[in-house]
């Protein structure tokens, strides 16, 4: 069982075209909702049944998030889609934008209707020229067909949807940094509370969801929350896109049910390349703790199973490393990434990520000292939990997990001034 939700039209010719999407049943849910004036509570309840959890990395239950939006607040509300995909290892939203943009549009329209937002923005990263063009074309098609706009299908419901673009900043994937960026500012995360549901875009109540989350909504409402839930496992409903990258024969985006064994996913991706042995797996994107092969091979790919194995499902970005991988060098690259992308707002992250990057680097090039290993853990421990947003934790977690599982390799670098692999 694969490709049942966001990728269900992937095999069709011009899967991104409105005609293709509609022939496959697209926009039927949106029309039904407008015709029946379905109550927002019913939609939220269906989402809760489905156990859809945020696909951007945090895994927060979507139905619950939508229910936080204030009902009786007058004035403008917004629905915002986070297509600022940039977590190393993650490239699934790009494919939704390229191959199934109408599912996202329908999902955003339904979300807007449910939370009382008549305007939506889809924030795409600036480098996504091709996905942006596809999405813009889809928007034009939808407007022309009367699917978006004012008084849609004479229902009295308005919904306007716009694209927005970034310009290269990982931090803008953090939802409040994204809002700042959308307002035309530097992407500095906001202190929370207040949460976006009460103080969001331009100070108005706002819901922000990931591309995959929103694109899943039409399928859930078409087939029922129960159908979606049963694709996966209790509390882990549905299928999920997994971006399998690194040392595999067939890297790619695979949509499989949550709860699929890791070993099966690895096999779909053609197994480890060049006949090599599996060494380590980062299961959910660069911010999630690394797992040694032995643990990974016994793990299932769902939120709870991966948490039990000691990591996180994150955005479903599975990075595969073979036996020849130097873990010191790999961590060095990740540490540099967080140093480069820290917005600089909080001292522990701004300074700490620099320390992590420099210390891992000096260990890698053979200039490390014995105390550096504990220094790394000390610095990482002082970033985590002490910053406005999650980037600090994201920078600390790889360091802790790499040292936890591969301390001997770091020790070897210190002792022998070279790599053991």
């Amino acid at each position: 069982m694969a490709n049942e939700v966001c990728f269900s039209t992937l095999h069709l010719d011009k899967s991104w075209a409105l005609s293709t999407y509609q022939a496959a049943g697209g926009y039927a849910v949106w029309k039904r909702i407008l015709k029946n004036k379905t109550s927002p509570d019913d939609i939220i309840s269906e989402l809760k049944t489905s156990a859809l959890r945020g696909r951007g990395g945090a895994g927060f239950p979507t139905g619950l998030k939508w229910s936080f939006m204030p009902r009786n607040t007058p004035g403008q509300k917004y629905i915002v889609c986070n297509s600022d995909e940039g977590e190393p290892g993650t490239c699934k939203d790009r494919d939704i934008l390229r191959y199934n943009p109408h599912a996202l549009i329908e999902g955003m329209a339904i979300a807007g209707y449910t939370i009382g937002a008549s305007i939506g923005y889809n924030y795409m990263r600036g480098e996504f020229y091709e996905p942006y063009d596809r999405f813009e074309t889809a928007l034009e098609e939808a407007y022309k067909a009367g699917i978006l706009g004012k008084n849609i299908f004479k229902s009295g419901v308005d919904f306007d949807l716009h694209s927005h673009i970034g310009a290269g900043a990982y931090i803008c994937g953090e939802e409040t940094a994204l809002l700042e960026s959308l307002e035309g500012k530097k992407g500095l995360p906001r202190f929370k509370p207040p949460f976006p549901a009460s103080y969001g875009l331009f100070g108005r109540p706002t819901t922000i969801n990931n591309t995959e989350t929103l694109a899943s909504v039409p399928y859930i409402l078409a087939n029922g929350g129960k159908w979606f839930l049963e694709l996966g496992r209790p509390n882990n409903g549905g299928s999920k896109l997994f971006s399998v990258s690194g040392h595999v024969n067939k890297p790619g985006n695979y949509e499989v049910p949550l709860g699929t064994p890791f070993a099966e996913l690895l096999e779909m991706a053609g197994g480890v390349w060049k006949g090599k042995e599996l060494k380590a797996v980062i299961p959910g994107g660069s911010s999630t703790p690394v797992l040694p092969a032995k643990i990974a091979m016994e793990m299932d790919m769902d939120y709870d199973s991966i948490a039990k194995a000691g990591s996180m499902l994150g955005a479903g970005s599975v990075i595969i490393m073979d036996e020849t991988t130097c873990m010191v060098k790999t961590l060095g690259r990740l540490a540099y990434f967080y140093y480069d992308e820290s917005c600089g707002q909080c001292t522990p992250c701004r300074e700490g990520t620099g320390w992590l990057s420099r210390v891992v680097n000096r260990i890698e090039i053979g200039k490390g000292q014995q105390q550096d290993l504990d220094l790394l853990l000390d610095v990482a421990g002082k970033i985590g939990g002490r910053t406005i947003c999650g980037l600090g934790d994201a920078a600390a977690m790889p360091v802790m997990s790499f040292l936890n599982h591969y301390r001997d390799e770091f020790q070897f670098h210190v002792d022998h001034k070279r790599c053991m692999v």
Partner: protein
Amino acid sequence: MRTTKLEKKPVEVVNNSDLMLISKQSYAAIDKWIAKYHPENRQAAVIPALHIVQEENGGHLTIALMDELALYLNMPTIAVYEVASFYSMFEHKPIGKHKVSICTNISCMLRGSEEIVEHLKKKFAINLGETTTDGKFTVKEVECLGACVGAPMCLIGREYHEYLTPEKIDAILEKLE
């Protein structure tokens, strides 16, 4: 808590076209972005506008261009500089005709981005972040561009190029004028 809104001055649009560095076509494109937001929130268009201005200026921004844009978007100039210096896609000095942004993050690194970087450095005799003497290429190291399953990859102009090998990137560069 940011609950109070600062009162904004009415927009004063520059209308002396002789003094304008940004073309009418670019302003028309910027206006399309401005129309997406409430009139009070013109500033929201600053990132797309900077992209437009940068492209028109051959790939980089200048203080004069940012100042003119600030006036148009009713923003303090410093607010435009802040945005323009925060985001990595904005350049502040002249770059080559073609910007080759090569990802070296984890998935690309695991699949040989270093080899591609070394190849380009040798081919053009430049370091990362530099421009070839003929002004044709700038090679820039970038963080994850979200195409990890096609690693190693790079962005040239508006296009992603995936599954790179030294031979493949040579062929791609050869086709560029």
